[in-house]
Symmetry: C2
């Protein structure tokens, strides 16, 4: 009997059937199979600067002063109330406003298992199969995979060096309205600070404008604008502009998502979102189904780091470190590729974050099955093909001549060597060697 | 414009529309509004025994010996490999067998954000709306809520003092087959050690039998048997029987789920599952969408506690503590209700876990909107109405004369006083006072 049933397969759900392997798995396999590779693909954070001493102090604090048992007990589904209040103040401080200016309270703040879980939960409560989510072109590829699982349609909006182009968003919405599809548009997703994958930031003058466009097309139902600000605090120059959320005066349209993973430590797996008031309950109910609350221990450690000032000090030290890495990557690109068809070979010069986005002349195929990708591995360097970063928009063809280069995890020496290897691969492909 | 869009509502997904408030929210609100209540409803764990010192030692270990940065970095979606190997050995040890006897490896072990997340993920990859999940009557009510979100149909199977009745499971499957519905049956869910809510354990001789029945009805597709063993290690007498999983020799049919929340600390929010091999990839792909991995920090702490022996010592101390609480609750029930229609008033005598299940004479309505519930709150005690624990099976009427009483979080004094208050409420309702 047992043997017989073993040959019968599980019948997977429609959701599971829609879920393919994520590109990151493919890239990680390359890295594992080629251990001498320099990975400019990895989305990990700088290793040396991970906050071991601040975490030790944090644990002393949360385990020693009478909070220890509380820290080890279950928390609530929405997350620790003291932490949520602190995070509201933190967001207001980043925007240079008083917390009350958000017209939001700590009750509108939800803690999650990284900001990715909030992306999942917000999509889960709004998107049915066939619904439409609008993203930038290019956009964060893990979220594109999530949208595929939900059976969402994706429409992409052009970016320029100042981020998503408002007129292009308006044109997409206008066309969807003309096609009678506006009723299916549920979410506009914008990663607006040092975007993954381009490193670009949405310009200050476009922020209220994007919001107004989303509001204007919220006729039959309200469209959610997700502001993914995961990289916001990794800023290496002037302060970045205030959030789109700061323009959402009645806390109705924008979900602002941030995380401890990039500015502090991914190992805590704590993200947070300031959500439109009437989405808090649906999201928390779903989170109740998922896990009824993120690890209380990690929340208390995050809170302790904020209370002690260790968090802010760590962010400042981290920014100095990443700035040097970014500079090293930009210098290496200039050195290695500055003379390579300058008009057609371009890269972004991000003011923060972890990524530089490289565009090659159009004849190059930098995709995962293209010649350059294999040649780069042959030279000993790995990148993220830009094709992964374009949602499956039926109205567009994804360019195949771009790539994401991360300076987060490599040392400065590795960055220099990695870009040199990449340039060798590019030149070799180009000369047919 | 903004003001106008505020009045337009978000259009929630079908999943969100199917998701109601969980009973636990209602119960927590009662507790908050009545702070002097003794809660025999709370599913929290004993507060005083939470492992503060073991956790301090664990943090010293994970942050001090060169593992610190690794601990604070991203982990993998499936979970830490060393921890997964350790947990495989742990499960084998609990079953008194060698790890190889499972015909499973650490690659079949998945770490999650509590075992609840594994319940969610397994359901997500198998269940489409209208599919059927079979549970015991009564069963774990949070999972019932999850099934509602997925649009699953629920069929309930009778239990007796030895757990789910195999002949009753067979009868349900037989009827579904006769009705042409067998193709929709995806999961049989069994909480088989010190069950939530009854405290009862599936008898040793029923374990292989339940598995054989599930296998026999796995004709068109394989039916998954979920063995939720969250309370397994909280055993206060003889060792409980080996897992159902230990009978699943080819690792094809049973997902065995356990957790650190009950035997160690809920604040870590770490659960784990030994899954049929061909479900690992679908589950991990979905987890990639959810959060691409549970908090690495918590995983490392769990591993450190296992490596140092602190885990096992803590479990032993915890069992002594809970045994005394269980005894206090059973003695109080005997004292307060032993003479109250002995034939028609019954309670379980669990060998472990956190719950006693009380059945009153049939004329009592112990439901959340019944007279007894309000009267109990008036007396200052809260319980979980048993009606929450019955899935919406169209073929059955859920009894309303039962309740779950938890001895986990209250002190022995509170348990005695709580049962005394409950008995007063019962007698008062009965005499119409």
């Amino acid at each position: 009997m047992a043997a017989e049933s073993d040959t019968v397969r599980f019948a997977l759900s429609a959701r599971a059937a829609r879920t393919g392997p994520q590109p990151i798995s493919f890239l990680m396999r390359q890295a594992v199979e080629n251990p001498s590779l320099i990975s400019l693909a990895a989305g990990l954070v700088d290793y040396e600067s991970l906050p071991v001493q601040p975490s030790r102090r944090g644990f002393e604090r949360v385990l020693d002063d009478g909070r220890g048992r509380h820290t080890l007990q279950y928390g609530t589904t929405i997350g620790d109330a003291t932490l949520r209040q602190r995070l509201l103040e933190h967001l207001a401080n980043l925007d240079g406003i008083a917390p009350a200016a958000f017209d939001a309270t700590a009750d509108d703040m939800v803690i999650a298992n990284g900001s990715q879980q909030l992306l999942f939960l917000l999509t889960e409560v709004l998107v049915d199969p066939g619904d439409i989510v609008i993203t930038a072109a290019p956009s964060y590829f893990v979220y594109t995979g999530t949208l595929q699982t939900f059976g969402a349609q994706v429409r992409c909006v052009d970016m320029d060096e100042h981020g998503m182009v408002p007129a292009a968003l308006e044109a997409v919405l206008e066309r969807l309205e003309a096609e009678g599809e506006l009723g299916r548009v549920k979410i506009v997703y914008v990663c607006d600070y040092f975007q993954n994958p381009t490193g670009l930031t949405l310009a200050v003058e476009r922020r209220a404008e994007l919001l107004r466009i989303v509001q204007r097309y919220s006729t039959g139902h309200r469209i959610l604008l997700i502001e993914d600000a995961a990289y916001r605090e990794l800023s290496y120059g002037d302060d970045p502009p205030p959030s789109i959320k700061s323009h959402d005066k009645s806390n109705a349209c924008v979900a602002l998502l941030q995380t401890f993973s990039k500015p502090f430590a991914p190992g805590l797996k704590i993200g947070y979102g300031l959500l439109p008031r009437d989405l808090v309950e649906p999201v928390v109910l779903q989170k109740g189904n998922h896990d009824f609350g993120s690890a209380n221990l990690c929340q208390q450690l995050a809170l302790a780091a904020m209370e002690s000032g260790d968090y802010q000090r760590h962010v400042e030290a981290l920014c100095r470190r990443y700035r040097a890495k970014r500079d090293a990557m930009l210098e290496a690109l200039e050195r290695e590729l500055g003379d390579f068809e300058p008009g057609n070979t371009q890269w972004t010069r991000p003011g923060g974050g972890l990524y530089v986005y490289l565009t090659l002349p159009e004849r190059f195929d930098a995709g995962p099955h293209g010649a350059l990708f294999d040649r780069a591995i042959g030279e000993g360097v790995l990148y993220v093909p830009g094709t992964y970063c374009f949602g499956p928009d039926p109205d567009r063809v994804a360019p195949s001549n771009t790539m994401r280069l991360s300076f987060g995890v490599c040392s400065i020496e590795q960055i220099r060597e990695g870009i040199a290897r990449l340039a060798r691969a590019i030149r070799a492909i180009d000369t047919g060697q």
